[in-house]
Symmetry: C2
Subunit: 153 residues, 2 copies
DNA sequence: CAGAATCCGTGAAGATACTG
DNA sequence: CAGTATCTTCACGGATTCTG
């Protein structure tokens, strides 16, 4: 659904760069019961399912990563993710915003300006990004080794 | 493609629970150039793109998480992920195996038995899972707070 | 500059039935 | 038990067009 019409729901539409009311918009991840994870039979939702739903997308990690460097404007993000079209970027941004990961600040200037930044919850995602980067590097190293050792049947 | 016919390609088909040749099967993530990430203009592939491609799926994280607890048989995994059909699980497993994350050991016993476990590379993913869990928990906490504070518009 | 609306292609995931 | 094969669906993401 995140692709359809949302029509300016949250308070970020008023036109002032406030910084609160990031969360609690009602749009939360569809937290299933972890599909039977044994780690927490108390009935609590599974963090992994939660994370999976957020990271499911093709760009979520990338967007969050770029935003982790600091606030960015719409087209700045586009520049960093050339393969991402405006429509998709908007969807991703709205999705992340709806989940309290990203904050949207509108500056009512003459040239319209909108800045995206990580919320507190989004900031808390940084360690994940950090580990992901570390793992990715390891993966790439392994790949190098595999290439160097390629053809040894 | 990971959904189509693979017809026993890797060496894990021979019938003995060996433990090498996990990697280097040739099937590696399509490492793009990070879509213009400024963090590494040297031309190296982006770890985030790599990770994103692996985590793209709907179940990858869950499967890896369960496997992180220790080796599991096919139906053990199915039991832990009831919503996952056999076909999809097979695809996921093959996908992860092809990327060197998961090892498949076939025990040529009378009741057919196959065990899945994390490879060394898969083990190296554990920190990511750990951080994901930590973040997920934080997200859920935030959600609780938001619910408790709901309606304050 | 920033975003909305719409249509469309792809492919991952699900259901079902069959195999060894 | 541990898959495999096929069909179908549908959400994701892309291209295009239009607005303020």
């Amino acid at each position: 659904m995140r692709d359809g019409k949302v029509a300016g729901s949250s308070a970020a539409d008023v036109g002032e760069p406030q910084g609160e009311s990031d969360f609690g918009a009602g749009a939360v991840l569809g937290l299933e019961r972890c599909a039977g994870v044994e780690a927490d039979p108390s009935g609590a939702p599974c963090p992994f399912v939660t994370a999976q739903q957020l990271l499911q997308g093709k760009w979520s990690i990338l967007v969050l990563h770029h935003l982790a460097d600091g606030p960015l404007r719409f087209n700045q993000l586009r520049r960093r993710l050339p393969q991402l079209t405006a429509a998709t970027l908007t969807s991703q941004l709205r999705y992340l915003e709806g989940h309290g990961m990203v904050r949207r600040q509108i500056f009512p200037e003459v040239p319209p300006r909108v800045e995206y930044s990580l919320t507190d919850l989004g900031e808390s995602f940084k360690p994940v990004l950090d580990q992901i980067q570390a793992w990715g590097a390891r993966y790439l190293e392994r790949r190098q080794s595999a290439e160097a050792d390629d053809g040894r049947g």
